[in-house]
Amino acid sequence: MQARITLDDVAALARGCAVLGTGGGGDVRSGAIAARRAIRERGEVPLVTLGDLPDDALVLPLSGIGAPTVSHEMIHAEDEPVRIKEEIERIFGRGPAAVMSSEIGGANGVAPVAWAARLGLPLLDADAMGRAFPEVQMVSLYVAGIPANLVIMSDAVGNVVTIRPVDGLWSEAIARAVCVASGSSALMADYVLTAKECAGAVIEGTVTRALAIGRATEGAQDPLGALTAELGAVRLLTGKVTDLERRTTGGFARGTVTVEGTGDDRGRTLTLEIQNENLVAVEDGVVRAMVPDLITVVDTQAATAIQTEGLRYGQRVTVLAWPCDPLWRTPKGLETAGPRAFGYDLDYRPVETIAGRA
């Protein structure tokens, strides 16, 4: 039987995407609202795997790009994905066979359900990050060496912009500039590729994984335990937020968060370095987890993810960290999205190695 994303799945998917957002990736709420509305209007969205698609089928990776404040106010136009699809038909002489999330973490993990429903296409059970990252070139397709030679953008007004960049870095620079002209919010297809090219270049199973993460805490007696087990995460610390330092530089919300241990963790202190996402966790001068491994702050009671902007002094939180997809641990992966790509002079060590598990 073919899997489908139903109306009832959207809440669990949104919760899971928030956990995979590692503090960033944008608020999942408006994506979830759009997804529910699209399913009501146009029906459930089939979820397919790469194996379900012919080799030459076109996969359309979509993501919203822009400022979080703007996407919360100037919500996407319903037809934005339609214009991208039409542009693909003009370029390739055929339309896409499936929509894929470019970024499963945060808003861009949920909203593709709405875009797929609008286009009457299935959603591919995969994405290009396995988490959230702040920049366009920080995708598995770039790491896998797929040339970033086509970007199609569509905005709320109806403009369509096709970019033929020379590489991923240029794709980021030009896409950002176009986005500003469009009012700091747009829909973007970065890369359009065949199912065959996707093999090994996308991170498979991430929609199913986000759903499982979201469902793990549903009705659980011990939501935190259930989430930790589902993620296979290392529990770095349980405590309360005792210091928050925020600064906005270069368009990024940077900051440092201090969590002091409570209960069994009393006397311990963990600091988190943040640039939109949670990137490095340090205890007593020792790094306990670092990007590209995933670090998420959750509410200790409900085990729901807390976004960077939602962190407040005094919150009771638990910091979880777990391994990223192996693709990010390759030399090219670490060069693209390892600690040095974010300006931290650190040699990457896997979270499970630091924890002494492997």
Binding site: R36, R37, M74, D79, V157, S184, R246, T248, F252, G314
Partner: protein, 516 residues
Amino acid sequence: MSEHAIAADARLRIGIDVGGTNTDAVVLDEADRVVAKAKRPTSPDVTEGLRAALDAVLGELPEPGLVTRVMLGTTHATNAILERRSLGRVAVLRLGAPATTSVPPLSEWPEDLAKTVSAGAAVVRGGHFVDGRAIAPLDEDAVRRFLAATPADAIAVTGVFSPASADQENRVAEIIQAELGEVPVSLSHEIGSLGLLERENAAILNAALYGVARDVTGALQEALRARGLRVETFFAQNDGTLMAVDYAARYPVLTIGSGPANSLRGAAYLSGVKDAIVADVGGTSTDLGVLVGGFPRESAAAVEIGGVTTNFRMPDILSIALGGGTIVGAEPRSVGYRIGREALVFGGTTPTMTDAAVAAGRGSVGAHAVPAEWHDRLAAAVRRADDLVADAVDRVALGKADLPLVAVGGGAFLLAPRIPGAPEVIRPEHAEVANAVGAAIALASGRLETIVPAAGAGNGRATLIEKAKEEAAARAVAAGADPASVEIVELSEIPLSYLPEPAVRLHVKAAGPLAR
């Protein structure tokens, strides 16, 4: 018995707070001293309990004619939404197409509430980008067509980025007046802040509540007339300030959540402390909030009312399941209003937190001794409750260990003489009616939220900030404040990320005493 002698030419005012369990009323003299107070059960229709409380305090006055003002904090609006009762039908207009069409208005509303409230909805061309450019010129013909096709009691208008660029919403208000005359209109930029769906929801609820506001105002004025009172009336709003009746008639949604705000402001006044943690202990729960400069600290989170998410300001309140009626061994259940029969100290058989506090020597309530066999369990319950309060104090204090705790509400005696995290526990006189006192002493206020360039980032920043301050002050005067003494009481900037030009969200609030 009056608490203070009342001069023959005194000018008195009455504060009334309608709570979930009780309706409290107080009379204050010109020096803000409490000269009469009363507590009556809140009636299902609200108005009857209000009349009873009013009669009780008026009965203590030598001459009701001395009362010149009445301030009312009430749950009418909240109840109307929760019960889908007396709500008006609203024509819902959004200015934003072709943007925003992926989520039409009323998308996530509970079906029955949407059915009750919506007379029809449309998204027409218009709205603004974050940088102030128009997404599209306002489609005035589409606005007129929608108005003609959608008869309604009121109209809610929400434009994309209207808190920063209000001109299109204002233009629609002009069109409505030209086409339909005096139909009430809710403009979203006057009600909520950034966040389209939440602001739109608040504007729609506001429009649906115009009839409720008229009914409450009418009932209050009728009750006052019947008692021979010729007074000015004000409504309490959810930031602890007041609005004149004609202003409240335009912004009824702002009365939602005024209870906790009143109690915080009343605690500030009665204790004389401007920065403090306030614990309001009721029958079922204890509400903890924080006073900053005499005003309630506001919540950053979205607020849900009757299943609808909104984003207007509300006091940041942490509720814990601890009240005078809380049943020991069956927490968080409470005996509620039946405490006078069921608690051990009243001769009943249910052990409550009131019994526990009495057994611990924290107060003397009721005529019956607590049977000795309960003492150990009640002592353990008190220890648990103290831990619960200490933890809650730590949570709301946000790391500040120097804030005193002001204990108010009918169950304030439950609280321990010393609370970890607070250097001092203040128990002011009249604490049991702090919420009604808060309504009576409140200032009038106005506020504004917009987007301005960040410091050093763009031209015109200083001018824009000055303009925002002036507009906030003008709104405070419209709400009833004395123009000569309006002050800017809050000015905050939140940086916005990922924008081409560094910008901040500017929030300004002005407040002042009521005009004489």
